[in-house]
C-alpha cells in the first residue's frame, strides 16, 4: 500500500507520482490522506490501480480517468470524474455540479446525491446515483446510461441524443425532446447489471424504474419552424 499525505507532500507530487505509473505497475494500491477539499486530486490517471481518498475533495477530482479505480471516502466538489475514459470512480458522499460530464466510458457511482448538470454531454459513461440528481442533468447526453435511485430535478435530459436515463423516483420536469419510454426486457437486464456494478443491487429493483430517452424530434430541422429563425 502506497500512502500519500496530501497536506505534507503536495498535489503536484501526488499527480506526478500517479502519472509515472503510466501503463503497467506493481504499485496497485494507493491511499491519499488529508485531502481537505483540495482541487484536481488524482487527475489524468492511466494505470490499473486502486486509489482511495480519505476525506472530501474539491474541484475536478479524478478527471480524465483511464483504467484506475478511485474511491472517495467523503464528498466531491464540482467537476467530479469529468471526461472519464475507463475505470471507475466511487464516491461515498455527495457530488457537486456536473459530475461525470462528457464521460466517454467507465463507471461513476455516487452514493449520496449529485447536484445540477450530472452527466451533462455524457458520451458513453455509466453513472449510478444512489440519491437524487439536480436540474439540467444529462443535458445533450449522447450515449451511455444514467441510473438514479432517487428523484431528478428540472429539465432532465434536455436536447438528449441516445443516452438512456433510468429514474426510480419523481422527475420534476423533462427537458426539450426528452420523453418517457417503454421498459423492455433488455432494459431490465441492463439495469440489473448497472445496479450490481453500482453497488446498489440491495437498494433497488430494476422494475421500480422508469426509462427516459430522446423523442428524436430535434434530430432534423423542421421546415415548418423556418419562420421562427
Amino acid at each position: 500500500m502506497q500512502r500519500f499525505d496530501l497536506e505534507a507532500q503536495g498535489l503536484r507530487a501526488l499527480n506526478a507520482a500517479l502519472h509515472a505509473l503510466n501503463g503497467q505497475t506493481n504499485e496497485t494500491a494507493w491511499e491519499v490522506v488529508n485531502p481537505k477539499g483540495s482541487h484536481s486530486i488524482a487527475v489524468g490517471l492511466d494505470a490499473p490501480i486502486e486509489l482511495t481518498v480519505h476525506g472530501s475533495t474539491g474541484y475536478y477530482c479524478a478527471g480524465m480517468n483511464k483504467q484506475a479505480t478511485i474511491r472517495v471516502k467523503g464528498s466531491a466538489g464540482p467537476g467530479l470524474a469529468e471526461n472519464m475514459m475507463s475505470g471507475a470512480v466511487i464516491v461515498d458522499g455527495n457530488a457537486s455540479q456536473y459530475a461525470g460530464a462528457t464521460g466517454r466510458g467507465g463507471l461513476l457511482v455516487i452514493k449520496g446525491d449529485a447536484s445540477s448538470r450530472c452527466g451533462v454531454s455524457m458520451k458513453g459513461i455509466n453513472i449510478v446515483v444512489h440519491g437524487n440528481i439536480g436540474h439540467m442533468s444529462a443535458f445533450m447526453a449522447q450515449s451511455g446510461n444514467l441510473v438514479v435511485l432517487g428523484d431528478a430535478g428540472d429539465a432532465l435530459g434536455d436536447s438528449l441524443y441516445e443516452a438512456r436515463l433510468f429514474v426510480r423516483g419523481a422527475v420534476k420536469s423533462l427537458g426539450a425532446d426528452c420523453v418517457e419510454k417503454e421498459m423492455r426486457p433488455e432494459h431490465l437486464e441492463l439495469l440489473a447489471d448497472l445496479l450490481k456494478q453500482g453497488e446498489a443491487e440491495h437498494l433497488a429493483k430494476p422494475e421500480e424504474f422508469k426509462r427516459y430517452g430522446s423523442a428524436r424530434n430535434l434530430y432534423n430541422f423542421n421546415i415548418d419552424n423556418a419562420s421562427a429563425y
Partner: protein, 298 residues
Amino acid sequence: MCGIVGLFLKDKSLEPQLGAMLTEMLITMTDRGPDSAGIAIYGGADDGAGKITVQSPQPEKDFADLDRELKDAIGKPVGMVIRSTHAVLEVPVDQVEVARAALAELRPGLKVMSVGDSLEIYKEVGLPKDVASRFELAKMRGTHGIGHTRMATESAVTTNGAHPFSTGSDQCLVHNGSLSNHSSLRRMLAHEGIYTETMNDTEVGAAYLTWRMKNGATLGEALEGTLEDLDGFFTFVVGTHDGFGVVRDPIACKPAVMAETDQYVAFGSEYRALVSLPGIDTARVWEPEPATVYFWNH
C-alpha cells in the same frame, strides 16, 4: 469568481473564537478573490448601545477627536474604537439616526459601512490575510458573521466596491456572481429614492433588498424577489441581527456548500473553506438548492 464564507454559532462557548474561525475560512478563499476582502461580524450585545461603523481614507485626520465632537453635537455619551481605516462609534440606541446626521455634518468625507445594534463591517482592498490582520479580525468575538473575498468583475477594485454591503440596520449582503440588469435597476431604484454610491452590481442588489423591505417586505420576501427581479448569476449570503440567510439563482452555477453540526452552521464557496472547523469530518455537509431561500436564526 469570488469567495464567500459564513459562520453561525449555536454553541455559545465558541463565541470568543468566532473571529479566529472566520479569519481562517476567509484566508482559505484567497485564490477565489485576492483583490479585496471584507467581514461583517455580529457582536450580539443587547446592551442598549447602537453601533455606527465608519471608514475613512485619512483615519488620523478624520477620527481625531471625533468621539468628543459627536458627544458635543448630540449631547449623549459616545464610545469610539478605531481599527485602522475603520472606527466603530457607540451611541445610545435611540440616538443612532441623530448621530448619523451629525456625523454627515462633522465629517462629510466619512463613509458609513454599517449601522445597527450588533453589526460591524470591515472591508478594504488587499489580500484577505492583510485585510484580516489590519483589522485584527481574529481577535473579534460574536454570535455570527459573514466574509467575502473579491475578484472584481463589474466595477473597480476600491474599498467601496468590496463586500459586504449594508442593506439596512444590522443587515448586510455578500455576493458571488455578476448581475446583468444592474444599470436599469439602479435607475429604477433612484426614481424610488434609493440611491447607490458606486457602479458596483452588488450594491444594486443590496439597494434592491433595502427598497423591498422599505415597502413592507420581510427579508425572506425580499430575497424571494431577487429570483424574479435580478438577472444574472448570484449566490447571496445575507446577515441579519440574529442569523443569516442564503439564496442562489435558479441556474446555480456559482458554488456553495454548507455544513451543520450541533455547534454551528457554516457556509463556504468551497469545502476547503470549512475544513478547519471543529467536527467537520462528521458534520452534515450539503449543497443548498437553487432558487431556494434558507435562513438560520438564534
